[in-house]
Homo-oligomer: 293 residues x 4
Amino acid sequence: MKIGFIGLGHMGLPMASNLLRSGNAVHVFDTSSQAIGLAVERGAIATGSIADLAAAVDVVITMLPNPAIVRSVVAGPDGVLAHAKDGTLIIECSTSDPQTARDLESMAQSSGKAMIDAPVSGGVPGAEAGTLTFMVGGTEEAFVAARPILMAMGKNIVNCGPAGSGQAAKICNNLLLGVSTIAVSESMCLGVSLGLAPDVLAAIINTSSGRCWVSEVYNPYPGVVKSAPASNDFSGGFACDLMIKDLSLALDAASGTRQPLPMTALSKQLFQLLSLKGEGSKDITAIVQMFKM
Amino acid sequence: MKIGFIGLGHMGLPMASNLLRSGNAVHVFDTSSQAIGLAVERGAIATGSIADLAAAVDVVITMLPNPAIVRSVVAGPDGVLAHAKDGTLIIECSTSDPQTARDLESMAQSSGKAMIDAPVSGGVPGAEAGTLTFMVGGTEEAFVAARPILMAMGKNIVNCGPAGSGQAAKICNNLLLGVSTIAVSESMCLGVSLGLAPDVLAAIINTSSGRCWVSEVYNPYPGVVKSAPASNDFSGGFACDLMIKDLSLALDAASGTRQPLPMTALSKQLFQLLSLKGEGSKDITAIVQMFKM
Amino acid sequence: MKIGFIGLGHMGLPMASNLLRSGNAVHVFDTSSQAIGLAVERGAIATGSIADLAAAVDVVITMLPNPAIVRSVVAGPDGVLAHAKDGTLIIECSTSDPQTARDLESMAQSSGKAMIDAPVSGGVPGAEAGTLTFMVGGTEEAFVAARPILMAMGKNIVNCGPAGSGQAAKICNNLLLGVSTIAVSESMCLGVSLGLAPDVLAAIINTSSGRCWVSEVYNPYPGVVKSAPASNDFSGGFACDLMIKDLSLALDAASGTRQPLPMTALSKQLFQLLSLKGEGSKDITAIVQMFKM
Amino acid sequence: MKIGFIGLGHMGLPMASNLLRSGNAVHVFDTSSQAIGLAVERGAIATGSIADLAAAVDVVITMLPNPAIVRSVVAGPDGVLAHAKDGTLIIECSTSDPQTARDLESMAQSSGKAMIDAPVSGGVPGAEAGTLTFMVGGTEEAFVAARPILMAMGKNIVNCGPAGSGQAAKICNNLLLGVSTIAVSESMCLGVSLGLAPDVLAAIINTSSGRCWVSEVYNPYPGVVKSAPASNDFSGGFACDLMIKDLSLALDAASGTRQPLPMTALSKQLFQLLSLKGEGSKDITAIVQMFKM
């Protein structure tokens, strides 16, 4: 099977590499010729345009920075839908929004193609290790077709429901991650200000009703989890500015369904306060610095 | 060893019962003669006043509704410190605040007694089953002395540090519980408004970076966790008004250390909005109803 | 001079009527033939399409519900720019966003037309009385050309700066209105809960550092200002759902400039909580009901 | 009439000076002998203790830093009530809380004295110029008796209702001031980020529905109001840490009446974030710096 891969950034390049490692022919495209070069070094086939790529393959995977670019790459005049063969399967892995996913899937179906939204969790380490989780929205048929391909890049492939459901699941999870990060920061800093040792407090929380992924695996208090970004000057990990983007997607989707999200909204603003002061490229746990003297 | 137990409410009565079950002589006091009657039925020895109780025992355990009552019962003119024998150990299990705990422990030491703060988690079910977690603040010596007694009522006895540390740990954990409850409510309601099935969404969150005790064990969306209060009309569990009290303790302690807690502060206000509309005695997960049509 | 008016809703119809009253020939268009009928009764000339209207007049005024419709009406294939004569002046009075205003003004200039954004304040009463305030963004030349036309519909015509500035000024003002409405509600309800008479408290605030337009003119506590919506079952005035729209425009614009707006964000969410419970069509001061028993 | 004045700080000293200027005999006490010295230079009579002062005068005025000190000075064993003559009038001008005011007034009445709470607005400039506003709670009789004395220090003497009402009015006003300061900061910074000139935006707001005392008189955007602290490096004015104290009083009073105050709560936290970074002694408008790059 011939696979096309569009978008060879921090996530896309290792994902494409895993597809190559599984023995697939992978045609690649990116606006950066340097990124294409890196993929070619690993065995990929360079293409000169999205149109060329789309015409040459059976499956197109996209991994792009935002919904506007996704719309343009998939449905623009020079995009995938305009040039792909009938029956092509499009696997859209970008973090986008449910409405964009639904709109594009509907266009794909009208033009004889299939499409799923399949945003990921696991970050760059998961992309490199091939252990990503894919949250998939789309028809059962498209899910079944996409599953073996996704298995080359991840280990959990979750069927979330019809088109848009993958994006919905992703933003619902990530808003919780954003809120938790700040809440654990508040809790840890309060405890330390009251004289508790950070590791003692973390241990108590982690066996109590306040425990969460952030407190256990990704604790924002420096030194508590040695491998976490907080213990490494908040480098690596998940940048504040990307979290702001994900929280914005959640809030926009909520505006559309008239869903109030007060804690989510406040979280976004607190990350914005941090980003405004120049910390936007640091890991999300850098928010703890707002709460420490 | 003779143990005195003051405060025989929903928590205190089953805790005292477990001490009796372990073969201790338990002298009891409460302002409700009915509560004393229930304890006597189970083998406790009634006392007519805090002073009488304090004079008769080696260890005094208190389980009281708020810091003001704790101060009065322990340090008031008719209280425990004024009437207890030298060397008495006071185990203060109420949810109070770190400053109160530190003040009282200092007074206890000055008058030749020992004292620990040992607030609990686990709720009424944990009190009944003898599986409470005790978060202990105090001297190492007092901790060692109290440990076997606490083991009759719980299964995790955690040494959190010097006096006040137990209370500090408890409020740090409970603020996370409060924030998580609202955050999971927002996430679940957004997902459902976008068309996701609640159980599918919960399953995704629970294997992702948004997972927390609330999403796994205590999910606020009705029907997701069959045994949780949310699936039983928000009855039982942890009342909103008690959460408001715990969040107030956290915010007051934070004012004392000049620690900002924006998410905690907003959480308290959202629970207050719910309580104002008459839902204060329902479980904390009833907050989900603010976010659903 | 021939004027075209597109959008004959609650605001547009009385605005067009005032133009007629000043002796202008007014060509009108709306998707509702009933609305066109009402305007024709007052002396307006009906047109069958936006294209017909645009081709027939020297000035086009638009008063439309949201930025997406504005973009379509002005710049769509059947829109104003495609059919208006060279030199036409477009006065865009809808509440939109600065980016849309800038984009459309730039397209207008490229095609030989002039355009200003001129959103209004004053509501339906101001539209009927011809006392609106117009906040204008655009070139000095376009401002000078538009001024006499706007004077037929309002009394304050404010030059806010280049294209988009009118929209920017409007959303900056309206976010303050939104925040103030909730803040005055909190203040009044707290005072009443502490035993103060609402009119006494309002009088004190109105001579102190807490005073604002909302406390003086539009007090949300029922009975304080007899003519205000709060004293008339929260009817009339400025609907919560419109405020949610304006706060969304402010928050979206702020996302674009990476500007944190925590109080604005929380205000939007509180109005959403109210709207979710079915109160979205009531006046913004109905938010006071969230804070009263 | 002999007047006693306790508390000669930034506010108390100029207030006592105005009483002297009006020809009163003023006995003074402060824990700082330097402060007493300054008052004596202006004609006051030094006293060696609160008890001596209380025994010597007909009226006692207190101007103290917080409710705990007020309780001690008025009702402590060496305090005013224990040593004042029958019929003494106590005028309590500190910013305190309604419950403290009610408790003390009740004790005063029981011991044959009269008491009003009379917190002020107007700051140090108002204290120096004798133009303070006094918000008075107490009996009509005590209000009438206090009025001429207050007129020597201020120009608006407002009867707010029974004991505690003066404190209630003050905190209700000041929470609005706190919220407005942040809201105007958000609005101004958003406008500037969108390209508006700060003075143009302020002028528009000040003639629109967003106008408030802060936008008009105390605008936080540097340069807009030349005489405001924001144009003078945020020096002078009303310190953030004092605003945090006032917002805490409002939130504590609200906890007592179960009144939700979400915007007020968030405001306190934002000022705390600023204070944590070392800006607590700057004027409240320094909060604008959190929102600017």
